[in-house]
């Protein structure tokens, strides 16, 4: 296992994962630096989503470990990993579509405040002043309406809502799985703007993306995944110039 370098928030160390005979990930070793936006690109089936699922505890790797903030999080449950400071935006927005926008946003705030379990059945939700104000502020920031039923939002709004939910927890690491998939050019651009704004706040992000326009607008560093292996790793310029990458991915 490669030693963790300085400023590394997330160290994905020598991960192997196979399903049956299929090697989804082999020898994947990645270091994500504090405050950077790290993009992982690669063709379909390259293992990007598998990698993300390993990080958030949905999948357990066969060998290797994920180290977050100096602590091994492999084998921990998703909620423990989230409580440690990792939030994730999914490819198809995972929101509480039966609930209102407000409820969607206050839930993660409560999680941050109360931890993974708190028994307070007699407390009044409407009396949670701080959480309430924080949620309202975020909702306004994201241009949403608190009383809207979230299930009937447009796809773009749903994605924004999910992002707001993740940000409300002030995570140290935000994982984004194709945040602009299926979006119109207009929505994509406004999402890029949004993410750039977040970037200014210094939050570390790992982003998986197909859209090169998005990747090159946001990423400080790019890793290229193909057939479960990392074939290139570097700044956007380095990666762009890498002949292997051009052949395997960009060139086509």
């Amino acid at each position: 296992m490669a030693e963790a370098e300085e400023n590394t928030v997330l160290h994905i160390a020598d991960i192997h994962k196979s399903f049956g005979g299929l090697h989804a990930l082999s020898d994947v070793d990645l270091q994500v630096k504090e405050g950077t936006t790290h993009a992982i690109i690669g063709p379909n089936g390259a293992g990007k989503s598998t990698l993300l699922n390993v990080v958030i505890g949905r999948l357990i790797p066969d060998t290797g470990a994920v180290v977050f903030d100096g602590e091994v999080i492999t084998g921990k449950t998703p909620h423990e990993i989230n409580q440690a400071g990792v939030a994730r935006v999914f490819q198809t927005p995972e929101i509480f579509s039966d609930l209102t926008v407000f409820d969607n946003v206050i839930v993660p705030i409560l999680s941050k405040r109360d931890g993974s379990y708190k028994f307070n059945p007699m407390a009044k939700l409407s009396a949670q002043k701080e959480a309430h104000d924080e949620a309202m502020k975020l909702i306004a920031d994201f241009g949403l309406k608190a009383d809207d039923p979230s299930g009937s939002l447009s796809r773009g709004d749903k994605r924004r809502l999910e992002l707001a939910m993740c940000l409300s927890q002030h995570p140290r690491l935000l994982l984004l799985d194709e945040p602009t998939a299926g979006m119109s050019r207009h929505d994509t651009n406004s999402t890029i703007e949004l993410l750039k704004k977040i970037k200014e706040g210094g939050m570390t992000k790992v982003i998986i993306e197909h859209d090169m326009h998005v990747v090159f607008s946001l990423a400080d560093r790019i890793s290229v995944l193909a057939e479960g292996r990392i074939i290139a790793d570097g700044t956007p310029e380095e990666v762009k110039a890498n002949p292997v990458v051009q052949e395997a991915y960009l060139g086509g």
Binding site: P78, S97, P108, L110, P149, M165
Partner: protein, 382 residues
């Protein structure tokens, strides 16, 4: 009145308490204003409210809640037999035992979700029922049901011989049969309703709703959903235990058939019929099913003619002929037809019908539509 007032806890509680406490008045014209049936309304209302804490908030469909009702009843009757005819220890032990029992079953069953969870709870309840009916007869008195006897120890009730007759449950001397029993149950129903209202409006309740809506998201939002689910399961189990103990309080007998899957199914039907996830719906559903069971089943040719005597003779006979298959021994048929009609035309149960009559803001309708779409999605993902 403003929306805020209408939705305030105080207003809701006043309305609910008022409706419950005046039941003897407004139920009398429809023949349901006698103590036993009103006690049943309150008891099964509590059962359904508690069930709704689990099913309505978390979406976990338990098919074994009757087991907790049964445990509550047995615990209460044993408390009457061993300790005292006072109802308070009986209720206390019922809730404790059903809570423990619910914890054990919930701990295991909640390892699974969806239909698997349903079958697990069903299996546990059926095992409890089958054993209570046969092998556990020393504890349950099997088919006959656990009853009080004259030579029970009752160690806390010193030498009240009661003239050789069986004692009845009391609240510090106040007998728990008839209207006193009803008001006792009614007060507990109101308290139970209040707690359920608080739960559904608490952060804890919101987490449960989040679990129902999207458990994956809850996990990735940092919630450990399992203890939440177990807590909800135990709470609803304790409600069931309370209901079971009240059955024993108003009528000191505990029978095994209380635990049968049909009894578990009944509370599911009550909840869906009234409106899953609504506060009042389960109480309404419970009332309707119990009303059918007790009043519709009691009609016979003679009583039908009496009720319809105001009609002209020929008309009366026609109406009686038409109605007859649906009452008396045919009351099940009415219930079956009712289930189908309600669910076909009012997917949200009777509460949805009430909402429709009184109208509601467009926003809520949109929310419902959205929820329906979301459900569809879930179904397809399966």
């Amino acid at each position: 009145m403003t929306k805020k007032v209408l939705e305030s806890e105080l207003f809701i509680m006043l309305l609910f308490a008022g409706a419950v406490l005046t039941m003897p008045l407004w139920l009398a014209p429809i023949g349901a204003g006698y103590p036993d049936l009103m006690q049943k309304f309150a008891i099964f209302g509590l059962f359904a409210i508690g069930y709704n804490v689990l099913f309505g908030l978390t979406g976990y469909l338990s098919f074994g809640h009757a087991a907790f009702l049964g445990v509550g009843s047995y615990a209460a009757v044993w408390s009457f037999k061993l300790l005292s005819m006072n109802v308070l220890p009986a209720i206390f032990f019922s809730m404790i035992f059903s809570g423990i029992f619910a914890y054990m079953i919930g701990f295991v069953s909640l390892r699974r979700s969806g239909i698997y969870f349903s079958i697990l709870t069903l299996a546990f309840a059926q095992m409890s029922y089958n054993l209570a009916y046969s092998v556990l007869t020393p504890i349950t008195n099997g088919e006959t049901g656990l009853q009080l006897t004259l030579n029970d120890p009752r160690i806390l009730d010193a030498a009240s011989s009661n003239g050789g007759a069986l004692p009845s449950p009391t609240l510090f001397g106040l007998k728990m049969s008839g209207f006193e029993g009803f008001y006792f149950c009614a007060v507990l129903l109101i308290i139970g309703f209040f707690i359920a209202l608080k739960i559904s409006r608490s952060p804890f309740g919101l987490v449960l709703k989040g679990i129902k809506s999207n458990q994956t998201r809850m996990k990735f939002t940092g919630f450990n959903t399992r203890p939440y689910l177990i807590t909800a399961f135990v709470i609803s189990g304790m409600y069931a235990g309370l209901a079971g103990s009240l059955m024993a309080v108003t009528d000191p007998l505990a029978g095994a058939e209380r635990m049968q899957w049909t009894a578990s199914g009944e509370v599911v039907l009550m909840t869906i019929l009234g409106g899953v996830g609504t506060l009042v719906g389960p109480v309404l559903g419970a009332g309707i099913i119990k009303y059918f069971e007790n009043i519709f089943s009691a009609f016979n040719d003679r009583s039908l003619h009496e009720v319809l005597a105001f009609l002209p003779d020929g008309m009366e006979n026609i109406v009686v002929t038409l109605v007859r298959p649906f009452v008396g021994e045919g009351w099940h048929l009415t219930l079956g037809v009712l289930f189908m009609l309600v669910i076909i035309f009012l997917p949200g149960g009777i509460m949805q019908g009430i909402d429709r009559i009184f109208g509601k803001s467009k926003k809520k309708k949109a929310a419902e539509a959205a929820a329906a779409t979301a459900r569809m999605g879930e179904e397809q993902h399966g």
